[in-house]
Amino acid sequence: MFWLNLIANFIKILREGQTPAQVAGGFALGSILGLSPMLTLQGLVIWFVILILDVNLSAATMSLLIFSLIAFIFDPIFHHLGYFLLVNIDGLNGIWTTLYNAPMAPLTRFNNTVVIGSFVCALILFPFVYFGMKKFVVAYRTTIGKRLQKTKIYQVINKSWIVQTYQRLRGMVV
């Protein structure tokens, strides 16, 4: 039920509700959470930012799920990138050593190859995800959404018993 609710909310906010910037902001911040492993200091900070800023929570949660899957697939690349940054670039060694000795920095687990590799990738991707999502939301609300509703597959899914059951249950809850 949670998943259906999540997807429905996400599709709903694509259609109407919050501004494209709010949806894209939530989605982009969620992508950082999704790409990086959980339970790091920077993860908590991102959650904090999501909760403080008026960004869309459904978009953030959806993005977290999508990018977690992407992170799982690209994990070896993050590992190699992280190893390269932590071990092979001698110029960064001083910074890593200072961070390693700093009181709070170890909580970021920056010395883990996957954490640093995925975090760097997430930061690089952040602007692309934000602006890409913003454009997509605008396009969805003006053209894509309407076209999608007219497609046969949408009609079939919309009339399927799963969706019908979900909508009935949702009505009961409400």
Binding site: A71, Y83, N112, T113
Partner: protein, 621 residues
């Protein structure tokens, strides 16, 4: 009472505590064995480990560490070992031990089961130190043998065969030079022909100079034209001279180059002489190597054995600053990279180990007892800031003493290992001297004192060993063959002791051995007195014959070279004379024209002055 708290928190916690209490001994034992095996690369077995909680300390009855090179032997085994752990650091997952007492340490005991661990994965291809040293330390017997039997040398020496042209690099060099001179001769001739062609131009210059007739120059304008013509001719002549000068330089350099090559033949001859002496198997007249032949084999073999221990320390104790190798972790786990931590503890650090023990009394009748301290065994010396140090003293059989000090430093990028050992009163019996083909003999009853220093900075290696043999007593396996063996035997029989310095070092890729002993001088003076003159005479004979063989061939080369050189130089000289003559002719003509111009100018000035005077006279009449 909160029942839920009791059921879901308190009771499980009590159960966990009981399980931990019951099994903690075996868990820690397994963890120690696993860690030890990872470090040593062979089985580590701990018996009856027991943990006490107040204060936190560990005690076990026996520790066996298998030798990674020989699984059926232990590197060492201990009796009872007891140590306390720093509780504060243990909470942080670090094993810090202030003092460890290790009693009844026994080295090299036999095992009842194979203690080797199969090696998985590809190992980096790295040639071990002892493999690199093998050729330098173990090749003594296989070195080409030098005979010391003068009669045999004279009998077997066939100088004419040795002076076969195929054995002489000088012959081949002369043939090559001859061919090169002939080839160059063709080139020189071509250049000279080109120079010859310039003679036409020189003749043209002469004709043009002669065509300028000074007597026909009546006016300043005519003189100026003639001067321009002369300048043009002079420019042409200078161009021809410059071109000639360039070609002359090329020819001279090429010719002189061969002169240098012919001079260099002396060095080739010298090398040929050395090669022939080598082929003749003549002994070095200084007799410097006899002591090395006598003593080297056994000492170098011992050095080779001990190099194995240095190798183990070098490889097993990793450099703290090495870059960690990349691992293949499970998905989303990653690999943790650790950086130097200030004011912190390494993962494990045994600050001091008190050792006492020795070889197995049951297996070794000459029981060896050692005691001492080992400091700072840690997984990361950059954190402790202290190198691993060993300070041991030992006795064997009540007469032999050993003082051993070692420092294994992994604090910097380049590792540095230092070892110092001093042995006194070491009884030596049965040590082989000589070789199978030269005075095979044995030391039967001798006392030796030795001091050894070994330095291993990074991939380099340098060791110095000084051994003093005292109260020497020898037995010879057979009667001496030849005069040199007899002399050496007499010298050895008359002395009661000698000193040996052995240096083994490695620079970049190469292992090398230097051997020095005071026996050299004693042997050399005796042998030189008897056979030195004879050997010198044979060498001189070879040298004279070699010079004679080379002289004929060399004369042919020099004749060819001188002919070609003379031909080139004569032609060049001849042409140079012609060029200079023509240039002088042009210069002379130019000067004449310039004089003529001056005369004409003066004449015109005089005429103008005269006309002026006449005009004035007319006015005042």
């Amino acid at each position: 009472m909160r029942k839920k708290f009791i059921y879901f928190v308190l009771i499980p916690a009590v159960i966990v505590c009981i399980v931990v209490y019951l099994f903690i001994d075996s868990w820690i034992e397994s963890a120690f064995e696993y860690g030890g095996e990872k470090t040593v690369g062979a089985k580590v077995e701990i018996d009856n480990l027991h943990v006490t909680l107040n204060p936190i300390s560990i005690e076990f009855a026996r520790l066996q560490v298998a030798n990674p090179s020989d699984g059926w032997k232990n590197l060492f085994e201990t009796g009872k070992v007891r140590f306390s752990l720093n509780f504060g650091q243990l909470l942080r997952g670090k094993y810090i031990i202030e003092t460890m007492e290790m009693n009844d340490l026994i080295l090299g005991t036999k095992r009842t089961a194979d203690g080797s661990i199969p090696k998985y994965g590809e190992q980096a291809v790295k040639i071990p130190l002892i493999e690199q040293a093998k050729s330098a330390l173990m090749g003594e017997e296989s070195k080409s043998s030098t005979s010391f039997d003068l009669d045999k040398i004279k009998r077997e020496l066939k100088i004419d065969d040795l002076l076969n042209p195929n054995n002489l690099a000088t012959y081949r060099r002369i043939d090559t030079l001859k061919k090169q001179i002939n080839d160059a001769g063709i080139q020189w001739k071509t250049t000279l022909d080109e120079i010859d062609k310039s003679k036409v131009k020189l003749a043209d210059i002469e004709t043009r100079v002669k065509s300028i007739n000074i007597n026909n120059i009546k006016t300043v304008q005519a003189a100026s034209d003639a001067l321009n013509n002369a300048h043009s001719i002079l420019t042409n002549a200078n161009d021809i001279k410059t071109s000639f000068q360039t070609q002359k330089n090329l020819l001279t350099n090429s010719v002189d180059g061969f002169y240098g090559s012919i001079k260099d033949l002396d060095n080739v001859v010298e090398q040929d002489f050395k090669n022939i002496l080598k082929m003749a198997h003549l002994p070095d007249i200084s007799m410097k190597n006899i002591a090395e032949i006598l003593l080297g084999k056994e000492l170098l073999q011992k050095a080779y054995e001990y190099l194995g221990y240095v190798e183990i320390a070098k490889n097993r104790i990793q450099n703290s600053s090495d870059k960690p190798p990349i691992e293949t972790p499970a998905r989303l786990k990653g690999q943790n990279i650790h950086f130097p931590v200030e004011r912190s503890y390494p993962k494990y650090w045994i600050k001091k180990i008190l050792i006492s023990g020795g070889t197995d009394r049951t297996q070794d009748p000459q029981y060896f007892y050692a005691k001492g301290e080992v400091h700072n065994i840690a997984d990361n010396q950059r954190i402790t800031g202290l190198p691993l140090t060993v300070d041991l003293s030992a006795t064997k059989g009540g007469t032999t003493t050993l003082a051993l000090g070692a420092s294994i430093d992994r604090r910097k990028d380049v590792s540095l290992d230092n070892y110092k050992a001093r042995l006194t009163g070491l009884p030596i019996a049965g040590m082989s001297l000589g070789r199978s083909d030269f005075l095979p003999s044995k030391i039967t009853n001798t006392i030796a004192d030795a001091s050894i220093t070994v330095t291993v900075p990074g991939n380099h290696f340098d060791s110095n060993t000084k051994v003093a043999f005292n109260n020497l007593s020898l037995t010879f396996d057979r009667e001496p063959n030849g005069i040199v063996e007899r002399i050496v035997r007499n010298v050895l029989s008359s002395i009661r002791g000698f000193n040996v310095d052995l240096r083994i070092w490695q620079n970049e890729e190469k292992f090398d051995v230097a051997f020095a002993t005071d026996l050299d001088d004693k042997l050399a003076s005796q042998i030189k007195r008897v056979i030195g003159d004879e050997i010198a005479k044979i060498q001189k004979d070879i040298r004279n014959k070699l010079n004679a063989v080379i002289a004929g061939k060399r004369a042919e080369l020099e004749k060819l070279y001188n002919e070609k050189r003379e031909m080139v130089m004569n032609k060049v000289k001849e042409y140079e004379t012609i060029v200079n003559e023509k240039l002088a002719m042009v210069e002379s003509k130019k000067k004449e024209i310039e004089n003529r111009i001056n005369q004409e100018k003066k004449k015109q000035t005089d005429d103008a002055a005269k006309k002026g005077k006449d005009a004035l006279k007319g006015i005042f009449k």
